[in-house]
């Protein structure tokens, strides 16, 4: 798919010389593995027998009627083991790491979803696991950290810089420069140096491949439009790529955040706060200031506030093959609620961006058109964010009661 790791002007490999040989080793093993039918089969099998693929395509009769436009279908990545599409990628890279004879994997994580997925697959495959996570994110997403630790992973709080995802990625790279001999860097999204963007997008493409079959079986036609939220871009690449160049329009939805000011959103498209840049090992559109310093980001969903974006999507957007839009925090909460109340599906806040984007456009489509929205993950992980947004007092009382019981217990011990 890529040309020497390039996607148009994006991608490439811009890493310290120290990482050159391990990157070359990864590249070679990846290409060999992809040419090995038994490896592909093994990945397929683990995706089915461990993660429960295929994930269904769910028709939303109530929601479609409420909107009164296109027929709305959801691709249910929330039903993956771990509760998000992240599992597809970690299965692929986890099995590759084993094939390469690595004993250990490291990963960066923002929301903690990729961290949990990596910790899960590491337990499953018997790999040591170290997760780098911004200290700020750890504070916001501790439940995921709790599970990573329970799963036997070492979670390293990253206290440098903005203490979020990009800094976690920097730190993971630093670890890798020190550990590449026995360690695979299991990156969580379709970013980074060659072959990561292509590799992650490739493992995620199972999403779109399934949608093709399911659309034929359930709709009898390919969808008119497909919507996916875009953080680093892996779930979007996964559902988009098999449709690139077909009549299906592909729409990525970024985190519009709380406003258009610097640090209020995580849009890498449709804003002059982002432009071509090279960092974190690859070239893409980065949110940055005039000095080229990477900019702070915000989103109600920790999983979307990344400063860069997949070089694959940056290129597809330049070439007009993918359209980029965005949804603001409040639109996201509204879409989250509407889906929950009309169909009984609790989507992740990340995914709710895609839902917000899809519902907004569905209204102006005709009833004989069909759209597919990718529900990249489930929303129960977001209970603290939602409860906070809704200022749910009973939840606070419950937490207080829990804490009181805890201190009593500890008193007792």
């Amino acid at each position: 798919m890529s040309d020497q790791g390039y996607f148009g002007q994006y991608g490439g490999s811009f890493i310290p010389e120290i990482l050159y040989s391990s990157q070359q080793q990864l590249l070679q093993h990846y290409q060999e593995a992809m040419a090995d039918a038994s490896f592909i089969q093994k990945v397929k099998q683990e995706m089915q027998q461990y993660s429960g693929r295929p994930t269904p395509l769910t028709y939303c009769a109530n929601l479609s009627a409420q909107i009164g436009g296109a027929q709305i279908y959801l691709k249910r990545e929330d039903l993956n083991h771990s509760g998000a599409h992240k599992m597809n990628n970690v299965i692929g890279q986890g099995l590759l790491a084993k094939r390469m004879g690595k004993k250990r994997v490291i990963a960066e994580t923002g929301a903690g979803q990729h961290g949990v997925a990596t910790a899960l697959i590491s337990a499953r495959l018997g790999l040591e696991c170290t997760i780098y996570m911004g200290a700020h994110d750890i504070e916001r997403q501790y439940p995921n950290v709790f599970w990573m630790k329970q799963l036997g992973a070492t979670v390293v709080p990253v206290t440098s810089g903005s203490q979020t995802l990009k800094d976690a990625l920097d730190e993971a790279l630093r670890d890798w420069t020190d550990s590449f001999e026995d360690t695979h860097y299991l990156i969580g999204t379709s970013c980074g140096c060659e072959p990561f963007p292509e590799m992650v997008a490739g493992f995620q493409s199972v999403i779109g491949e399934e949608v093709k079959d399911q659309a034929m079986a359930q709709i009898g036609a390919m969808p008119d439009k497909i919507y996916a939220c875009v953080g680093g871009g892996s779930n979007a690449c996964g559902i988009f790529l098999p449709f690139v160049g077909t009549d299906t329009e592909l729409v990525g939805i970024e985190a519009g955040g709380s406003g258009d000011g610097v640090g209020e959103h995580a849009k890498r498209f449709n804003t002059d706060q982002a432009r071509f840049g090279i960092s974190q090992g690859f070239a893409t559109k980065f949110l940055q200031d005039e000095q080229g310093q990477l900019a702070p980001t915000h989103s109600i969903s920790a999983g979307l506030d990344y400063v860069g974006v997949s070089p694959i999507l940056a290129d597809l957007s330049d070439r007009g093959l993918v359209r980029m839009s965005s949804a603001k925090d409040d639109e996201v909460i509204a879409a989250f609620k509407q889906l929950m109340l009309s169909e009984g599906i609790i989507a992740a806040l990340e995914s709710s961006h895609a839902i917000a984007g899809g519902l907004k456009e569905a209204a102006s489509l005709s009833v004989d058109q069909n759209i597919v929205i990718n529900v990249s993950g489930r929303g129960d992980k977001d209970i603290f964010t939602i409860a906070s947004a809704l200022q749910d007092q009973p939840f606070n009382d419950f937490l207080q009661g829990y804490l009181n019981r805890q201190s009593n217990n500890q008193g007792a011990n």
Partner: protein, 259 residues
């Protein structure tokens, strides 16, 4: 041939090894960082490496990373940085000044513009996240006789050592095998690998060689005399500053120069 290379060779006539010291522009403040540079230049350190801070310094360890983030609080501008260090270069002709930064700040500035702004005083540039394969990006600098300082590592494969030797001009910067700035790798095997690599390189080029990462004392400098032309000290100086301010910084420089 390269002014930088010529300068180093000339100095090496009288000194067994030269010292290249590292300062972060804007840390702890722009004023103090300029003060540190002055201190070094006054002491006639051979080469001054000025790092223009970047938000995501992936090749740097905790000390420099933290310092860079603090420096960014002072909103440094690359244009002003180049003006400031050009002025220093003019004021202290007996030392050479190099710019070090990551790719993105330089890319956003633009390499044509950079070539102009570095001239005349800044002799070369070190970009740790720009692999040798991308040498073409620096054409405008080469054209302006500003030397890209390519990094090489022990156990680098022969083909890449060749590539470095082909594109090297004023200085080749050899870093220890693993990890990031501030980590020393003084296992005997590591040393062996290093000298093997240097022995592979030397026949291919007469460009001077600097060795860096983890050098923190005069003793360590002594050890590499004869192997390379330049010893690079980075984090050790910042640590000295953190522990004892400008005076400790100055003392540290003296102790290193005593090597």
């Amino acid at each position: 041939m390269s002014h930088l290379a010529a300068f180093i060779r000339e100095q090496r006539q009288v000194k067994p090894i030269l010292l290249m010291t590292h300062v972060i522009y804007g840390y702890p403040s722009i004023e103090d960082s300029l003060q540190m540079m002055r201190t070094l230049l006054t002491k006639e350190v051979a080469i001054l490496e000025v790092q223009f801070p970047f938000s995501d310094p992936v090749a740097d360890g905790p000390v420099i990373t933290h310092a860079c983030h603090q420096a960014l609080e002072n909103k440094p501008s690359l244009a002003q940085c180049l003006l400031d260090i050009n002025a220093l270069a003019e004021e202290f002709p007996s030392s050479k000044v190099l710019l070090m930064s990551y790719l993105n700040p330089l890319l956003q500035f633009g390499f044509d513009k950079l070539a102009k702004a570095m001239a005349p005083g800044v002799s070369g540039v070190i970009i740790p996240d720009l692999p040798i394969d991308q040498h073409a990006m620096l054409k405008p600098l080469v054209a302006a006789k500003i030397d890209p300082v390519w990094l090489m590592i022990p156990a680098m494969d022969t083909a890449r050592i060749k590539m470095v030797s082909e594109h090297a001009q004023g200085l080749i910067y050899c870093v220890s095998r693993k990890g990031v700035t501030g980590k020393s790798s003084d296992s005997t095997t590591a040393k062996q690998v290093l000298s093997d690599t240097l022995n592979e390189l030397k026949p291919l080029t007469d460009v001077p060689i600097a060795l860096g990462f983890g050098i923190a004392s005069a003793e360590q400098i002594q050890e590499i005399i004869g192997q390379v032309d330049v010893a690079v000290v980075g984090s050790a100086l910042i640590n000295a500053y953190i522990e004892g301010g400008l005076s400790a910084f100055s003392d540290k420089v003296d102790s290193l120069l005593a090597a």
